[in-house]
């Protein structure tokens, strides 16, 4: 029953009346991959997940799972398990009954359900809570219960819709690590929807970044971080976000605040560009772009500086042993390979 869990979206379009929620989405997920759908709210990532689950039908296009066109296959025949943002636990059933429900629906014999339930509960460490009702559980326990209900069936695809967003910050970090381990140990393909870029970066093997109903970039977190495809992605990925500054490009050099910086770009001629500089790529140097430190946000191990470079605001992240004081005049620079260039009209990477 369990296949490999390979997914392919082919030109998926979803219209809500006149509004295009998805405008032709294409991507592939490899078996066993932890794949994140990342994007701000309303970007189409949840719609994509719902179409993959079969809860919504696409307006056009095809969905393939393990090479088979499942576009017109019912949700309950797709062999997919899902963890909802609200967990959607059945409040009138005990934890054990909740976990057993999918097995019962699959007509598994009673004798085999019990051990399977205990096994799944043990994997997420809630085997001591089996007799409780969801209302008697803490948020974290509820989330685990939802996980157990999803993994018990050993479905070929494991969908997670912002499963950590209802947990408090500390619990979220712990659960994040456990989730990754769980997915590894089960060897199942996971598709994970989130608006939190940090979550996607840490969890995903690969991710698709959604913007306004389109996928703007697919790649490993490292790739997307290193080479964002567009201004939107550059501004979305990384914390604090990339500095994006209009500048003039002339034969490999750019000018910011009256200073010339070398880039690795190979473009000929002269043009307007948007320059992307990650705060962490900026260093304090003796000779560079001159500016005045407006504000310092101390993060303990590092600090974020708001620097006023003759009217242009630039943020830089510096090591803790290297923090200037507010009001100091400093100079900053970046290595040529850390400078990203974007086209101001197409907003794509140059």
């Amino acid at each position: 029953m369990s296949g490999r869990g390979e997914v392919r979206f082919e030109d998926i379009i979803k219209m809500h009346g006149e509004f295009a929620a998805l405008k032709g989405v294409n991507f592939e997920i490899k078996p066993g991959e932890f794949f994140a759908l990342l994007g701000p709210s309303g970007s189409g990532k949840s719609t994509t997940l719902r179409i993959l689950a079969g809860l919504d039908a696409p307006t056009a296009g095809h969905v393939y799972i393990d090479g088979k066109d499942v576009t017109s296959v019912d949700a309950r025949d797709r062999d997919i398990a899902m963890v909802f943002q609200s967990y959607a636990l059945y409040p009138h059933m005990t934890v054990a009954d909740n976990i057993a429900f999918p097995l019962e629906m699959a007509n598994m014999p009673r004798a085999k359900i019990g051990p399977a339930v205990v096994d799944a509960a043990r994997k997420v460490k809630i085997d001591h809570l089996l007799d409780r009702k969801p209302g008697q559980l803490s948020g974290g326990q509820q989330q685990r219960c939802a996980l157990a209900r999803a993994i018990v069936r050993k479905a070929r695809l494991f969908l997670l819709d912002e499963p950590l967003s209802n947990l408090d910050a500390k619990l979220r970090l712990e659960t994040r690590a456990e989730l990754k381990k769980l997915q590894r140990s089960l060897g199942v393909t996971a598709v994970y929807v989130t608006h939190d870029q940090e979550e996607a970066m840490t969890l995903a093997d690969r991710m698709a970044v959604f913007m306004a109903g389109e996928i703007q970039q697919v790649g490993t977190p490292a790739e997307v971080f290193a080479k964002p495809n567009s201004i939107e992605i550059a501004g979305f990925i990384g914390n604090p976000p990339m500095n994006l500054l209009p500048a003039r490009y002339i034969n490999g050099d750019i000018t910011i605040g009256g200073r010339w910086l070398k880039t690795t770009a190979q473009l000929a001629g002269e043009r307007d560009v948007i320059v992307g500089l990650r705060p962490s790529a900026l260093r304090i140097v003796a000779d560079g772009i001159n500016g005045k430190v407006d504000l310092i946000e101390d993060l303990g191990d590092s600090a974020i500086l708001d620097i006023d470079c003759s009217g242009t605001q630039i943020r830089a992240r510096v090591n803790h042993d290297n923090v200037p004081r507010e009001g100091d005049a400093i100079a900053i620079a970046a290595r040529p390979q850390d400078i990203h260039l974007f086209d101001p009209t197409t907003r794509k990477r140059l």
């Binding site: 379009i13 295009a20 307006t59």
Partner: protein, 311 residues
């Protein structure tokens, strides 16, 4: 984002339509139809069909006492109705009965709700006692009032009247007192309804706005006029609508207490339609009266719903 992509998407959708969404929608429709069918067939049979048949009957002379004279008469029943003094007086009685009972229920109910809201102890008693009249059959309520409350001398109301120096009254025999009595009985039974609904709505109002108002130095009366009343308005209007519909078709209590009498002193339109049809067995004319009642109900509820939407 850009309109061109939307149009391109729409164009693509038109070229490669996926009919699975249509299949899903159709499946949902069929499931809905299957679930709705029994209830809607029953409603058609017990409300819509009788209504059409009623309108049809109202165009006939249909006298169960004199069947030989029966036949189609068109609008004759309605013409008769327009010149029927008993109809106009029953309509007037209906309006008086409805307006007075509804106003009394809302005013007393609201006042009591405000009073009980501030009580630290004894709320439970109010909640418990208030349930009692509401769950009773109006027929039983009417019977109790007619006998043990309003009977001359040993009826408690009359006993109290005698001791208060008013003297024994013929509560149900005097035309005016009979009307007052049926209004009082209806108010007695249904004020707890308004009370309970308004108390629940009051309890649902957020407390911090009152604290804010207090800090803004609003007096108790100002807090009531400027905060409580506007916030409670939807609930009050809803109570008025619900109680009006019930009062217009009140039957059992009046029927048991006075049966519309003495003479026609408490014969509201609803009761007139009943008496004409089932006591005087003049079903055709009774149907016309029922249609008239329906029209009055629709007009009044239209006005009330407009009131609800206003502002």
């Amino acid at each position: 984002m850009a309109p061109t992509t939307d149009m391109a998407a729409a164009a693509a959708a038109a070229i490669v339509p996926n009919d699975f969404s249509r299949v899903l929608a159709q499946r949902e429709r069929r499931f809905a139809a299957a679930l709705l069918a029994p209830a809607f067939l029953a409603l058609l049979a017990t409300t819509t069909f009788p209504l059409m048949f009623l309108v049809w009957t109202s165009a006939f002379r249909m006298d169960l006492a004199m069947p030989f004279a029966n036949g189609f008469v068109g609008f004759e029943n309605y013409q008769a109705l327009l010149t029927d003094e008993r109809f106009w007086s029953s309509l007037l009685l209906s309006l008086v009965y409805t307006a007075s009972t509804v106003v009394l229920q809302v005013v007393i109910g609201l006042a009591l709700a405000l009073l009980v809201m501030d009580m630290k102890r004894g709320q439970g008693w109010f909640r418990l006692i208030a349930i009692l009249p509401v769950v009773l059959s109006p027929a039983v309520v009417g019977m109790i009032w007619r006998t043990f409350m309003l009977a001359p001398e040993f009826g408690i109301v009359d006993f109290l009247a005698i001791n208060a120096g008013i003297g024994s009254k013929n509560w149900l025999g005097d035309p005016l007192l009979a009307m007052v009595s049926v209004i009082a009985i209806h108010t007695w039974q249904w004020t707890p309804f308004a009370f309970m609904v308004l108390l629940a709505s009051l309890a649902a109002l957020p407390e911090d706005i009152y604290e804010a108002a207090r800090l803004d130095r609003a007096t108790a009366w100002q807090r009531f006029r400027r905060i409580t009343l506007p916030l409670l308005r939807p609930a009050i209007v809803m109570v008025i609508i619900m109680r009006t519909m019930v009062a217009l078709t009140a039957f059992a209590a009046i029927f048991t207490v006075t049966a519309g009498g003495p003479g026609t002193a408490t014969e509201i339109l609803n009761l007139y339609a009943y008496r004409k049809s089932f006591t005087e067995l003049s079903i055709g004319y009774g149907s016309a009266l029922a249609v008239a009642l329906l029209i009055v109900t629709v007009i009044i509820s239209g006005v009330l719903f407009a009131l609800r939407r206003a502002k």
